[in-house]
Symmetry: C2
């Protein structure tokens, strides 16, 4: 939705199209599935010309093409309101099955696939969905639970905890940050990182630390209860979507 | 889209939800396929409360339930703009394969499954998508080409003619009209009838006239070239989306 998920007047239709496709491919990555086809419906403002529509479509298709995903259908409409793009991506699970949010176990290590925070400076429009990374990790490890980071690690990891009936501890100084000036709060809460967060058991965690098939960062552990941020040895309660630093 | 496809302030979210699901099921009917699952994304105006969202969903689900179609995913968002609903329905073709727009042959009879015109008085919100009818006809006949009537018979039949490389003649006095006061122009051009128009060869046409498995109306024939309306023996050129009565 224009002015919510992007500002098309500032960034142009090509980048918006890329984002719209990428966020939906990211949902397929979150389950370690293979995207197979996309359906795209666009509601164009009447003021937009054909060039606008073509640039939007080019952005959508370029991102889809990178993953050999054909756009197989959809709808194009116009109205007096703002731009809305709806993408449905279909996917197939591999022989290892899907990775769900509900499989995290006490003792698991929590990993993320990239730096967090500050996405709104541009990353949220240009990120590459972690399809290949998810499939590679799925081959190498027994992924217990996984999610893509759209709302922010503190919120999205909480979804895993709720679905799995467990708690978690994150280590503040282990969080990879997009920029040196990025705060821990930004890494936890900014959202739209579109990296993957996943949990694996002790043996796979050790394997990923020693011989990672791709860059991954261990950021915490699954525990029986509670939701915590460990900051230099001080464990504090963490809130999904906005942790509270208790002095 | 609110104020384009419906006016939610006048008809309420339940009927809007029913229409949004039905028009997409109608697209599956047009190919004589079996709908298997639906994905629904809604963009709600921020002013709408939870009751509104629930009524909208109830409408969507009731129509889907009538055809044993589960809603398997989607997205819910809100913004400062108007209501937008996007539905993707997945379907499977039967062992007879899909019916396309491209199979009409010279000598085919053109049939429709119900009365036409005047849909905006209410039918466009409450129609039942012709899934069962399409599957029944597909069992009984060799359907050469089919389409669902969303733009109006004069436009939609033209799509069949273009895809099949043929022409057509419609018989004005054979067109079933929704109301006694409905004009021929309304039957041809109003749109949103969501009946099926299909073509079959001579043997199947005779069978459908003698022993129809459901009510169908023969309304014309496929010819080699031209696009015509036959009105009491006078054949006039017909325009898709607005035929011109030449005096």
């Amino acid at each position: 939705m224009d002015d919510v998920d992007f500002r098309v007047s500032e960034v142009g239709p090509w980048r918006v199209g890329r984002k719209a496709m990428a966020v939906n491919l990211s949902d397929i990555a979150a389950m370690a599935a293979v995207p197979t086809a996309a359906v795209v419906s666009v509601v164009l403002p009447k003021s937009c010309g054909q060039d606008f529509a073509q640039e939007l479509y080019r952005g959508l298709r370029e991102r889809a093409d990178e993953f050999q995903v054909p756009i197989v259908g959809g709808d194009t409409n116009s109205w007096a309101g703002g731009l809305v793009i709806t993408v449905t991506v279909l996917g197939e699970v591999t022989s290892r099955g899907p990775v769900l949010r509900s499989g995290a176990k006490v003792g698991d290590t929590i990993f993320v696939t990239g730096p967090l925070g500050g996405s709104l400076a541009g990353h949220h429009l240009d990120f590459v969905p972690r399809i290949r990374e998810a499939l590679l990790l799925h081959q190498h490890c027994d992924l217990h639970a996984m999610i893509d980071l759209s709302d922010g690690l503190s919120s999205d990891l909480h979804h895993i905890c709720q679905a799995s009936g467990v708690g978690a501890v994150l280590h503040a100084d282990a969080l990879p940050r997009r920029s040196n000036s990025g705060t821990i709060a930004a890494a936890l809460n900014d959202g739209e990182d579109f990296e993957l967060a996943f949990t694996v058991g002790p043996a796979d965690a050790e394997k990923l630390r020693q011989h990672p098939p791709l860059p991954v960062w261990p950021v915490g552990e699954i525990v029986a209860t509670g939701y915590w941020l460990d900051d230099q040895g001080h464990r504090q309660p963490m809130q999904p979507g906005g942790w509270v630093h208790e002095i």
